[in-house]
């Protein structure tokens, strides 16, 4: 009797345990792919650098389009599939598309060396680019292979940041110790010790910075600019009409955008068949679209140490949306005493084009690249 009683207690305990051992709760996953996998965006690469080798365009580390040698560009967009569309988090776009340029053979060289040229979303991060499905983007490789890496460092008194000074390829100065002799010396600026050089020059210039050295701001905290060539990425077009970055041609005509991507050409004038593309930074093709496309340092990638977007900026853009009807026209760009031409180019009615001035004025490598967006 006792035995049965306690077997009962035991059984009840075990039964209770079994009943109460409920399992973890969990909803049913719904992993249906609700986004069409037909997302794509248009990309186009122009190699505007005067000294870069032939480059290939990679999006998400897959190669697209043809190789572009120095001062030339791909003439048409390449539609590229995107795996995801324009992510955001709490309203801010987050980067998801990896963009880079690789040397078609060997390495890029210069400061970049054997690394790739990679797009970084900010001056102090290594984030990707945010591509929107249906968007169109022009990637322009600008600057010299030898643009120095901007340094954020401690100064000679042991603390603090120093400002990075823009480089010119070289300059001349008089030897102050023997003014009568006026011996001309030539120094190269742009090495990683340009700070020391600037200080040296200040010392021999009555404590003033020579006018050709322009402070361009503090190197951002955690700067990821590695120097050398860099990307200028232009968002040409988003699906949303108000975001149009390209001139819309008036009926029966074609439109041209001009981008001066030469770092040392100064203010230039671009003409199609002798008609100027209007220089300017705030040109509005319709007057209603508050379109602004300054070629300021904010558009550089990364922007550190780049030239500012002032009126004397060597990089400017302009538009004209009412060129003559379709036909074959000559393109010319006048930069000071030099003129570069690209003759007998075909323009179609309703077409949208970008003329890019590439190469270097001082190295005599100025060239024109023509891109058709539409």
């Amino acid at each position: 009797m006792n035995r049965n009683k306690f077997i009962h207690i035991g059984l009840i305990a075990v039964l209770f345990a079994a009943v109460a051992c409920e399992d973890n709760q969990s909803p049913t996953p719904k992993t249906t792919n609700t986004n069409p996998l037909t997302l794509s965006a248009n990309f186009l690469l122009i190699n505007a650098s005067q000294d870069a080798p032939s480059l290939d365009m990679y999006v998400d580390n897959v190669k697209y389009g043809n190789s572009v040698s120095g001062t030339t560009g791909q003439s048409l967009y390449t539609p590229i599939p995107l795996t995801i569309n324009a992510p955001t988090i709490n309203g801010s776009a987050v980067a998801s598309t990896n963009i880079r340029a690789k040397a078609s053979s060997g390495s890029i060289g210069g400061v970049v060396g054997s690394s790739d040229l990679i797009f970084r979303a900010g001056n102090n991060n290594s984030n990707n680019f945010t591509a929107v499905s249906g968007g169109s983007y022009t990637l322009i490789v600008v600057d010299s292979l030898n643009r120095p890496k901007p340094l954020r460092t401690l100064n000679s008194s042991g603390f603090g940041d120093v400002t990075y000074y823009s480089s010119v390829s070289s300059f001349t100065a008089k030897k102050i110790s023997d003014a009568s002799a006026d011996t001309v010396i030539q120094l190269s600026v742009g090495s990683s010790n340009s700070v020391d050089l600037a200080n040296l020059l200040k010392k021999y210039n009555g404590g003033n910075l020579p006018s050709f050295l322009v402070p361009i701001g503090t190197v951002p905290l955690g700067s990821t600019d590695v120097g050398g060539v860099r990307f200028l990425l232009i968002t040409d077009e988003l699906p949303l009409p108000s975001s149009t970055r390209l001139p819309i041609p008036t009926a029966g005509k074609f439109a041209v955008r001009f981008v001066n991507a030469s770092p040392d050409a100064g203010t230039v004038n671009c003409k199609i068949n002798g008609v100027s593309v209007i220089n300017g930074l705030n040109y509005s093709s319709t007057g209603t679209v508050g379109f602004s496309y300054p070629m300021t340092q904010a558009n550089f990638n990364p922007s550190v140490g780049s030239r500012g977007g002032s009126a004397t900026s060597p990089v400017t853009a302009g538009f004209k949306n009412d060129f003559a009807a379709a036909g074959s026209y000559d393109i010319s760009v006048v930069a000071g005493a030099k003129t570069v031409t690209s003759n007998a180019q075909t323009f179609v009615s309703g077409g949208i084009y970008t003329v890019v001035l590439t190469g270097s004025f001082s190295k005599n490598t100025l060239a024109i690249a023509l891109v058709q967006h539409k």
Binding site: T31, T34, N35, V62, I84, G134
Partner: protein
């Protein structure tokens, strides 16, 4: 023969454990009968504890039964039974174990009877003779001396309990904060619960092993006298003095050369350290047979280097692992030395930031125990015990920002970060405890009484490292060229004013009446708690500068407003009276009473039934926050400053012990009942201090705060910011009226409305202390070859588990696309700055960030089954082995040093307010424990002792989480979905420098999942909280004691050399015995939400359906599977390379007399 059997019997019980009845003493009971089995009432029973001459006497009751409670543990005892007309019988060499009721029946022979042998039933049944009902384990002084232990920590022995968890002092899968620790019956538990043990924060132990006679771990007591825990009750009893003067002097040491220098064959030296432990114990008589003393003092010191990365002295020194900020051109030593010079010499500051190299970390403890045992007479025994533990440890500055994010790169010590010594702090844990216990036998053994009065005081406080005063100076973090913290100075933001006083007073009494077939116990158990906790985080302010130049400019340019920190954060006292007025100063008590009957009227069966009632009461009125309490949160009103309703908590219990065959060869035991424990009081205290009244917070990132209301630029100041002297009275909280401070921005002197409260803590009206329903069933059986086998099943169901929820978290608004889990709203901008509630906001009210409610749930259970085999060859040779399978589930982790900490770290799928039932984070599913000791005396003067322990167990469990917060519930601990194929997950590259194609990223993720047993077998499911388990852990440890002894006049003098070798397997193979930890449990990084593709609509800036940019979207979550450094993550686990994972040796020398 009889003596031998008795010895065996006594020793075996140590291994088996016993029913922990009292927690400081043992008991003897039994039945006296004549040769025919007829009960003999009125028999005299006298038990004598031979070492101390302490005698205990009683007479048998009408049914022949006798009962002697309150006996000293240990032995040997002699029990004599005499009755006129019968031959006197004696039992010798008995030993009593903590909490044990030893059953000793006597059959007396008529003086005229001529028997060949006088038999005592206890001798016949040596194996299973015990009153044990529930699960428990005992570890006595011999095991403590003989088994390996490196830290001289009692947890090395409690972890030999089969049901113990892997490493965290948890038992049966329950949180370690739900245990109760007593010394000599007095609560010395860290009831506040910042750490499971007192002195735990300073890495110390609450008492010396040399002061301890025995430790017991009680898991399922059906004795209602035991209470205040829902995990395990751990009772330690200190040693007592005896008639002989006995003592010991000892010294133990170890250093880095006595630990493994390789991990998996790779050289990986341990930074130099030094550990010393020395002390003595002494016990003896003050009055022989009457009054005894015992004293113990122990000192423990450990020194470790704080800096493992020294400063790179000059530009020419190779970078290596030295502290440097990223660029090659840096000369950190110059910069850091220049900073120190600036701080010292600037006339406004004159601040000494301390040193930045050659700085050691001190860990020290002093432990003292004094005990007196007074045999007032045969019926009254008094014990007095006092102990003191003073412990401290120097700590790295916290990397936390308090109510904002901490600085990038933290504040520890790395190749990036260097902190001046003034930023390191010392945590002090002091403990003072006294207890008095009086055991009384009344009316010739028909009644007895046990009275315990205890008082424990815990004083935890902080200093600067090295025991220095905390300067009244803000903390400053200066970032270096790479954007990580370069240097930090000023005191740790959580250290000023930080203190915790705990006082626990305890009065317990129980009264026993011994009737025919019944033992009735009635009693009371009461604890009074007082707390005084001051915690003023970020009270001195924390400045963050982007460069040294920015700091210098801000500290020197008093007229310009251009130089300023990139972030300034401060918490200011918003009540009159300064920091001490913000103390969580409160008292509570639990009043308890119990009634129990132990019934022995059925042959071979003992049943106890009883009920205990505990009434938690709160003795302090708290200030209300009427402003917050008026807010309606979807129908719920907050109860800031209100205690829960007082209500009694009943714990009925029933237990049994059935001697199946009547010969103690097979025993079935168990029971069922409710246990009521304490809630870690810090969770309640959070509601006392986080009431939105005491403090205001101010945080500014790069926004102009250079001008205060008086038009003066606000510059760096060595004097911490506080409310301006001319602040109106309304800028302070009115505690009497429950009005919060009317101040939105103190720097701009913007008065008139309370600032947003980032977090407020409250307690639900019907919150109840934790209760569980625990049942157990066990079979003990004598097996062949003298082996005793035990099979024990324990099942625990939570009745009131603690459940935390955020009352200000709005319900989910959508479903996460391509995933299926609920998606919560977002918070626009800064939740602590922006009051406006927008559509699709996850907050219900914008005046509060988080409104935590401490509530209950009845979900959660634990069960375990244990198989144990023990064999005792003789008193010098014992072995035991056990296997335990445990399952434990809970709603949210029941451990954490704050309520907010638990809430914000609990992994969930459905959202932070619905964590769901899953595996307990303290669960160790499989565990094998084996241990044994062997001692051999030889050649007259020598003895060698070997002790071995083996632990094989499942590794620690963990959760596979996303890094980030894809379900947008505000808690970044979301369980991952384990994809079956690439089209189930939207992946992206890790960043611009990532050279992988999306297909390659998936391939690497897929390969990772394939090699991970947990993930691969759960594809297509959500990962479960604490569902993944680290690899099996094997730990074999060895102790060796070599004694050289001389017996002088019967008194033994011994020199003992000892070696404790922990993790023997690792000594022979640096790849064995390692603890493997997950390399990356936050497997996938949440990048953002994909926007749904709508032709002709740009979707990367605004959601066209709402026109709002910030709304969470309908798109799929996008994840990155980051590289592990520069290579793919290809394996789940990596070994713990700290000293804890390697072999360690500790040597010692001891003189025993």
């Amino acid at each position: 023969m009889r003596k031998h059997l008795l010895t065996t019997f006594a020793v075996l019980l140590m291994c088996l454990g016993a029913w922990a009845q009292g927690v400081t003493t043992a008991s003897l009971s039994g039945k006296i009968s004549d040769q025919k089995g007829e009960p003999l009432p009125g028999t005299n029973i006298v038990a004598t504890h031979l070492p101390s001459g302490t005698t205990y006497g009683t007479t048998s009751l009408a049914d022949g039964r006798y009962f002697i409670p309150g006996m000293r543990i240990g032995g040997p005892y002699t029990v004599k039974v005499s009755f006129i007309g019968y031959k006197e019988q004696a039992q010798e060499n008995l030993s009593l174990e903590l909490g044990q009721t030893l059953v000793l029946d006597f059959k007396l022979a008529d003086e005229t009877t001529q028997l060949q042998e006088v038999t005592v039933s206890a001798v016949k049944d040596p194996i299973l003779n015990s009153d044990k009902m529930g699960a428990s384990s005992n570890f006595n002084v011999n095991q403590i001396q003989r088994l390996p232990s490196i830290g001289r920590d009692f947890r090395d022995f409690t972890s030999l309990t089969p049901q113990a968890g892997g490493s965290s002092f948890s038992f049966g899968g329950r949180s370690n904060l739900y245990n109760n620790l007593t010394i000599d019956g007095a609560t010395v538990n860290n009831v506040f619960g910042l750490n499971p043990l007192p002195a735990g924060q300073s890495n110390s132990t609450p008492f010396s092993l040399d002061a301890i006679q025995e430790v017991s771990v009680s898991l399922s007591p059906y004795d209602v006298r035991q209470g205040n825990f829902t995990g395990a009750g751990i009772s330690a009893v200190t040693r007592s003095g005896n008639n002989e003067v006995q003592g010991s002097v000892y010294y133990f040491f170890r250093n880095e050369s006595m630990a493994g220098s390789k991990v998996q064959g790779q050289s990986s030296p341990i930074p130099s350290f030094n550990y010393n432990n020395y002390g003595f114990r002494l016990g003896g008589p003050i009055i022989k047979n009457k009054l005894f003393f015992f004293v113990n003092a122990e000192f423990e010191k450990r020194t470790d280097p704080f800096y493992t990365n020294s400063v790179r002295p000059s530009k020419s020194t190779p970078i290596g692992s030295l502290y440097t900020q990223a660029t090659d051109d840096n000369d950190p030593e110059t910069g850091i030395a220049g900073l120190k010079s600036f701080l010292l010499n600037n006339s406004n500051l004159n601040y000494d930031p301390g040193v930045y190299k050659n700085f050691n970390r001190a860990t020290e403890s002093q432990r003292y125990v004094v005990r007196f045992d007074y045999n007032i007479n045969q019926n009254n025994k008094l014990t007095l015990r006092g102990n003191i533990t003073n412990a401290f440890q120097d700590q790295f500055p916290s990397g936390s920002g308090g109510f904002v994010s901490g600085p990038p790169g933290g504040r520890g010590n790395s190749v990036n970060v260097l902190s001046f010594s003034s930023s390191f702090y010392r945590i002090n844990n002091n403990q003072y405890s006294v207890t008095a216990e009086l055991n009384t036998t009344l009316r010739g053994g028909k009644m007895s009484n046990n009275l315990v009065i205890g008082y424990s005081a815990f004083r935890d406080f902080r200093q600067n490292a090295g025991g220095l005063a905390i300067p009244n100076f803000p903390m400053v973090d200066i970032l270096g060229p790479n954007g990580q913290t370069m240097v930090t100075f000023g005191p740790d933001p959580f250290t000023p004013n930080n203190k915790l006083d705990q006082d626990v007073t305890q009065i317990n009494d129980n009264f026993n009446i011994y009737l025919k077939n019944h033992q009735v116990t009635i009693g009371t158990a009461n604890e009074l708690y007082s707390f005084n906790n001051v915690f003023t985080q970020v009270i001195n302010g924390v400045y963050r500068y982007n460069s040294l130049a920015d700091f210098y400019a801000d500290a020197t340019a008093t007229t310009t407003a251009t130089a300023r920190p990139s972030q300034y954060t401060t918490q200011y006292v918003a009540v009159q009276g300064g920091p001490s007025a913000t103390a969580a100063k409160w008292s509570a008590a639990t009043l308890g009473g119990f009634l129990q009957d132990e019934y022995t009227g059925i042959k071979n069966l003992k049943i106890t039934g009883g009920v205990r009632v505990d009434v938690p009461i709160y003795l302090t009125d708290l200030p209300k926050n009427n402003y917050l309490n008026a807010i309606d949160l979807n129908g719920e009103k907050l109860r800031v400053g209100a205690w829960p309703t007082i209500r009694p908590l009943f714990s009925p219990r029933i237990g049994f012990n059935w001697d199946v065959k009547g010969d103690r060869s097979l025993q079935v035991r168990g029971g069922t009942g409710i246990l009521t424990g304490r809630v870690p009081f810090v969770w309640l205290s959070n509601a006392v201090s986080n009431n939105g009244l005491f403090f205001g917070q101010f945080n500014s990132t790069n926004v102009p705060f250079d001008l205060t209301g008086d038009g003066l630029p606000y510059n760096f100041s060595g004097t911490p910011y506080a409310l301006p002297k001319d602040a109106p009275a309304s800028a302070y909280a009115d505690l009497a009226k429950g009005m919060p401070p009317m101040i939105t921005n103190p720097l701009d002197r913007n008065y008139g409305r309370p600032s947003i409260v980032p977090a407020v803590n409250t307690i639900a009206k019907d919150f109840k202390f934790p209760q569980v329903w625990r049942s157990s069933l066990a079979v003990d059986k004598q097996l062949p070859y003298g082996i005793v086998g035990t099979l024990e099943f324990i099942y625990t169901k939570d009745i009131n588990a603690v459940f935390l929820r955020d009352a200000n978290l709005a319900p989910a608004t959508a479903t996460l696309n391509g995933d299926g889990r609920p998606l919560y709203g977002a918070v626009p901008g800064n939740a602590n700055l922006d009051r406006a509630i927008l559509s699709n906001d996850r907050r219900i009210n914008g005046d509060i960030g988080q409104a935590l409610v401490l509530d209950n749930t009845n979900k959660g259970y634990q069960w375990s089954i244990t198989a144990q085999l023990s064999k005792t060859f003789d008193k010098n040779f014992q072995v035991s082995a056990a296997y335990t399978y445990t399952d434990a589930r809970e709603i949210n982790p029941q451990n954490g040093s704050t309520a907010g900490g638990i809430f914000s770290s609990q992994a969930s799928l459905l959202g932070a307010n619905n964590p769901g039932l899953s595996y307990a984070n303290t669960l160790t599913p499989h565990r094998v424990i084996a241990y044994g000791t062997y001692r051999k005396e030889y050649a007259k003067n020598f003895a060698s002792t070997v002790g071995l322990t083996y632990e094989g167990r499942s590794g620690n469990n963990f959760s596979y989480l996303y890094s980030g917060d894809p379900n947008s519930d505000g808690v970044s601990a979301d369980l991952i979905y384990i994809p079956r194929s690439q089209d189930e997950i939207a992946l992206t590259t890790s960043g611009a420098t990532d050279t992988r194609t999306i297909a390659q990223v998936w391939q690497q993720l897929d390969n990772y999942i394939k090699q991970d047993d947990y993930l691969n077998s759960h594809r297509g499911e959500y990962a479960k909280r604490s569902g993944a388990i680290s690899p099996w852990v094997n730990r074999l440890s060895l102790s060796f004691l070599q004694d050289f002894y001389v017996d002088v006049k019967g008194h033994r003098n011994t020199i003992q050399l000892s070696a404790n070798l922990i993790n023997v397997l690792n000594l022979f193979d640096s790849g064995s015995g390692l603890i493997q930890n997950p390399i990356r449990s936050n497997l996938l990084r949440f990048v953002g939400y994909e926007q749904p593709h709508v032709a002709g609509v740009a979707t990367n800036s605004i959601d066209p359906s709402t026109g709002s940019a910030w709304a969470p979207t309908k798109g799929r979550p996008v994840y990155a599977f980051d590289l592990n450094g520069s290579t793919p993550l290809t394996s789940s686990f990596a070994p713990d390379t700290s000293v804890n994972g390697r072999w360690q040796l500790q040597l010692g020398v001891r003189y025993i007399f």
